[in-house]
């Protein structure tokens, strides 16, 4: 099916879920090929700081982004585990020490939708809590290698994007954080619409605490840990590649599991 055909059927309201994903994937792959210019701008090198080796490896990294988008099955759920495996406390991990974690006032905290959304009203925590929730016991996998099972609950990102009138055909969703390093990261729309991708409000049935991103962090069981930001205050829908904090240091962008 061609992109034009999908767009026509979208206008006529005749579009299956899979078509959206296919379109997203196609646009993603096409976009991936035009990243060459970015490499020239970021020309740091992983070995000698001379450029070409780093540029070559990053080019393969972008090819791997496309491969991962193709491997990603939007209907496949991350495996879930029995509640008995859920520890009461999760492992703390951040770029900064636990003494620097922000203490955000949940009463004044707002979540701002931005970019390609029709309703840009900010959300309060109570409004998010009033939306339908989902809870899963899944495995959190860190890019460093360790993994840990936990139980996270919250609002499906898909629900939030729909409520905010987001353009679900857009390529990317980026997350922006109110923390000491202004952390940010971004994901593909297919992963954003995955049923287990949530705006996480609880861990093991209780509200998440400051070390783990209170009042809201994003949980994506189909992505590595650094794609699941804490202290999120803005969610942007965009077609312009948004990159992210660790991605700018050379970590693979798609980072899918």
């Amino acid at each position: 099916m061609t992109t034009d055909n999908i767009e026509r059927r979208l206008r006529e309201g005749d579009l299956a879920k899979g078509d959206v994903v296919n379109l997203q994937r196609r646009l993603f792959l096409r976009h991936g090929l035009s990243f060459g210019a970015l490499t020239m701008l970021t020309g740091c090198d992983v070995v000698t700081n001379t450029g070409p080796v780093d540029a070559f490896l990053r080019a393969i990294g972008r090819f791997n982004d496309g491969v991962q988008a193709a491997l990603f099955n939007p209907r496949k759920l991350a495996p879930t585990y029995p509640e008995s495996l859920v520890p009461a406390e999760f492992r703390f991990n951040a770029q900064y020490g636990i003494e620097r974690i922000p203490k955000i006032n949940a009463n004044t905290w707002r979540l701002q939708p931005s970019g390609l959304v029709s309703d840009k009203r900010a959300w309060t925590l109570e409004q998010l809590q009033a939306l339908p929730q989902r809870e899963d016991v899944t495995r959190h996998v860190c890019v460093e290698g360790w993994s840990m099972i936990g139980k996270w609950g919250g609002v499906p990102l898909r629900t939030f994007l729909e409520k905010a009138g987001a353009d679900l055909m857009a390529r990317y969703v980026s997350f922006h954080c109110d923390d000491p390093i202004s952390y940010s990261t971004s994901i593909d729309m297919a992963s954003a619409l995955h049923p287990q991708t949530i705006l996480c409000l609880t861990y093991a049935g209780k509200p998440i605490t400051p070390p783990f991103g209170a009042p809201m962090r994003v949980k994506i069981p189909t992505k590595l840990g650094f794609k699941q930001p804490k202290f999120v205050t803005e969610i942007r829908v965009t077609n312009a590649y948004p990159a992210g904090y660790w991605e700018n240091y050379g970590y693979n962008w798609f980072a899918g599991l």
Binding site: V46, D54, L71, N73, Q95, N252, L257
Partner: protein, 227 residues
């Protein structure tokens, strides 16, 4: 290639190409893999010196990647995996299609292995270019199996959700970390033996590059063999 007699063409071009492409791939994968391992060791007591790992200097990568080479090592690892993947696919397809596996690897009998092993320890095991004794068959089959194991456990570590069914064969993500580690150990052990034997019998090296054996050399004994 039509004019080559079986004894003068030892290694077809496709064997030589895949041998050297996966050699490069495996070296890059081991080097970068050890750097990745260091960011969260499977065994706390097992550590590797920085100089044998791949991922740039600690100082440079800390400046460029804000870590000690994990981003760089991951870039190397997920680039080099394609070398191994492509080499194995090409070699396996060709090996089955051409009858290479059938001719070179089967049969292996217990008696042959015991006899070869006895000869080896007496220093009398013949190393005929172009034909494999039972120990060689087992060694090369072991190396191939290890590379396949690394590919499968690597897929599970890379994509534990998309390849969840495969992960069930090896204790899911955490189990795959052990499989991937011990597979690496297996490949390193193979390389030690493989390279040691090549140093002992250096004449086997040239045919893996040119494909041909010098006319006079078709069979010889291990050094120290009884006269």
């Amino acid at each position: 290639m039509q004019n080559d007699t079986p004894s003068s063409l030892l290694h077809p071009l496709i064997v030589r190409i895949t041998h050297w492409t996966w050699s490069l791939g495996v070296l890059l994968l081991i080097g970068s893999g050890l750097r990745i391992y260091e960011s969260d060791p499977v065994f706390e007591a097992v550590a590797f010196p920085v100089w044998i790992t791949l991922g740039g200097s600690y100082e440079d990568t800390n400046r460029l990647h804000n870590d000690f080479g994990l981003a760089a090592a991951l870039l190397w690892h997920f680039a080099a995996m394609w070398l191994l993947f492509a080499s194995l696919i090409v070699f396996a397809a060709w090996g089955f299609w051409s009858g290479h596996f059938r001719r070179k690897y089967v049969p292996v009998t217990v008696a042959e292995v015991v006899g070869n092993a006895t000869d080896f320890f007496k220093g009398k095991l013949a190393h005929d270019l172009g034909t494999r004794n039972a120990i060689q068959k087992l060694l090369y089959a072991f190396a191939l199996l290890m590379m396949i194991l690394m590919l499968l456990s690597g897929l599970v570590l890379w994509k534990p959700v998309q390849f969840h069914e495969l992960s069930l064969l090896m204790g899911q993500y955490e189990g795959a970390r052990y499989v991937h580690f011990f597979g690496m150990v297996g490949i390193v052990l193979f390389l030690v033996v493989h390279i040691a034997l090549t140093l002992l019998v250096p004449k086997v090296l040239l045919p893996m590059i040119t494909g041909r054996a010098p006319p006079s050399v078709t069979t010889h004994k291990m050094p120290g063999a009884a006269p």
